[in-house]
């Protein structure tokens, strides 16, 4: 399973390195979303600063949908979906590998977005340990959940439109939790930030486990 996961993740990252879709399309999209929030909201320093954690995570959510779409688009081109099934790879390994590749891409995008909120919203990044811990568990949860729903919708004619409808309500607790934890880290709230990290970790564990269990069944139907 782990060997297959490493093989799959390596393949997906190699495809990204060659095609540069995340770098050339998703990353600029993420920055544009941040700028658009600035247009839509009062370009008042304080307000944007207060809203920064929420806006950051909304942008990450949108990017995660795009990253998952891309992850399965490369498999669907020219019937590589059949290839995935015929490859003989362990389905749990495929799931972990694809989720890991999506998580790494998201982590890179988050780094970029963090620079974005510093530049555009004048946020000063404090409480780095809590920021990083939150980002790590939230990213794993988003990647696992997205990959699982990605294969659920794979092979359907309507998958581009169906996927956001399926993913976004499910990851709502990640948005709530990650935003609250970042508010604590940035000194905007006196809540217990690590409580939220725990909730995000539970979300991640639940979806990684369900993914390992259910991915094979769903891949057969894709």
């Amino acid at each position: 399973m782990w060997r297959d996961a490493a093989l799959m993740a390596g393949k997906d990252l190699r495809i990204e390195a060659r095609s540069r879709v995340a770098t050339n399309q998703v990353a600029p999209f993420a920055v544009i979303v941040l700028v658009l929030f600035g247009f839509a909201l009062e370009p008042d320093r304080n307000f944007l600063q207060t809203a920064a954690p929420g806006l950051f995570w909304v942008a990450v959510l949108f990017c995660s949908v795009l990253a998952v779409q891309r992850s399965f688009a490369v498999e669907a081109a020219d019937a590589a979906g059949d290839g995935l099934r015929m490859s003989g790879l362990d389905p749990a390994g495929i799931f972990l590998g694809k989720a890991a590749a999506v998580a790494l891409e998201l982590a890179a995008l988050e780094a970029l977005l963090a620079v974005g909120i510093v530049v555009f919203y004048s946020t000063s990044l404090t409480g780095v340990a809590l920021l990083l811990a939150t980002a790590a568990v939230a990213t794993i949860g988003l990647a696992a959940c997205g990959t699982l729903y990605g294969v659920l919708a794979a092979g359907l004619r309507v998958r581009e439109t169906l996927l956001p409808l399926l993913i976004l309500p499910v990851v709502a607790p990640v948005l709530i939790g990650a935003t609250r934890a970042w508010e604590v880290a940035l000194g905007q709230s006196l809540d217990d930030g690590w409580k939220w990290v725990t909730l995000l970790a539970v979300f991640a564990v639940v979806y990684v486990t369900l993914g390992v269990l259910a991915f094979g069944t769903l891949l057969e139907e894709a």
Binding site: V74, D78, M86, G88
Partner: protein
């Protein structure tokens, strides 16, 4: 030795439509079987069923000793399927594609290089992205994967399509080589002369079934090859309304 493929009255559905309507097939290791039949007769579906991609909902199916009605996944590592589409990643190079497929199947990567050489992909084409290849070059890359993986059962769907004369001869050599190594080959082809020169047996498919007792003689006597598929489909119109109620009932059991 157990047969490589043994299907008995296999029924397979695709979106609720019975693409296989009770097909029988038995293929021995070291045998080349040619499937012929009109478009939509079920040739591709038969190959996909043998690869464990289509579920057998009725009847029995055993491939390389694996019962496909119980587990369709186990057999796939040992089967090579070359379909209409080539299952390559457009953004990866030819070599990366072959290497990934071979490692995924758990085969030793030492076979990659000879396979690339054999298919004439070891030169400039090695580092070209699969998305920039011509149809024939894609097919050769897919064949290189098969050669490197050395599956025990080769399922080839129109393998000659899109290949130039030189590579058609190469393909025939590859098939003969695989069979000499003990693999079984099932191929669907409209190229009757070329394919039947390869095949030990020719079977005709029609209506999702393998037409029984229609073994075609060798290419030496082309006039005696099995009935052209056009004839079979032409008879459809006359036969269809004559179905009686008992057939409906019999079919309903399957459903």
């Amino acid at each position: 030795m157990a047969p490589a493929v043994r299907l008995r009255s296999a029924v397979a559905l695709l979106g609720g439509f019975p693409v296989l309507a009770g097909a029988d097939l038995e293929v021995q290791p070291g045998e080349v079987v040619l499937l012929q039949g009109a478009n939509g007769a079920g040739k591709t579906s038969l190959l996909r069923t043998c690869a464990g991609l289509l579920a057998v909902v009725s009847g029995s199916a055993e491939v390389l000793g694996c019962d496909l009605t119980a587990d369709r996944r186990a057999v796939r590592r040992r089967v090579g399927l070359l379909g209409h589409s080539t299952a390559l990643y457009d953004d990866l190079t030819v070599e990366d594609n072959v290497r990934f497929a071979v490692r995924a199947a758990g085969a030793p990567t030492a076979t990659v290089e000879p396979a690339l050489v054999r298919l004439g992909l070891a030169g400039r084409l090695r580092s070209v992205a699969a998305g920039r290849l011509s149809a024939g070059q894609r097919r050769r890359t897919a064949l290189a994967v098969l050669v490197a993986r050395q599956p025990e059962l080769w399922l080839l769907d129109e393998p000659h399509a899109g290949l130039d004369a030189e590579h058609r001869d190469l393909l025939d050599d590859l098939i003969r080589g695989a069979v000499a190594g003990g693999a079984a080959v099932v191929l669907a082809s409209h190229e009757r002369d070329r394919a039947s020169a390869l095949a030990d047996r020719t079977l005709v498919m029609a209506g999702g079934q393998v037409v029984p007792d229609r073994r075609a003689p060798r290419s030496g006597r082309p006039e005696a090859t099995s009935a052209p598929p056009e004839d079979a489909s032409a008879r459809l119109a006359g036969n269809f309304p004559s179905l009686d109620a008992s057939e409906h009932l019999e079919a309903a059991h399957v459903a």
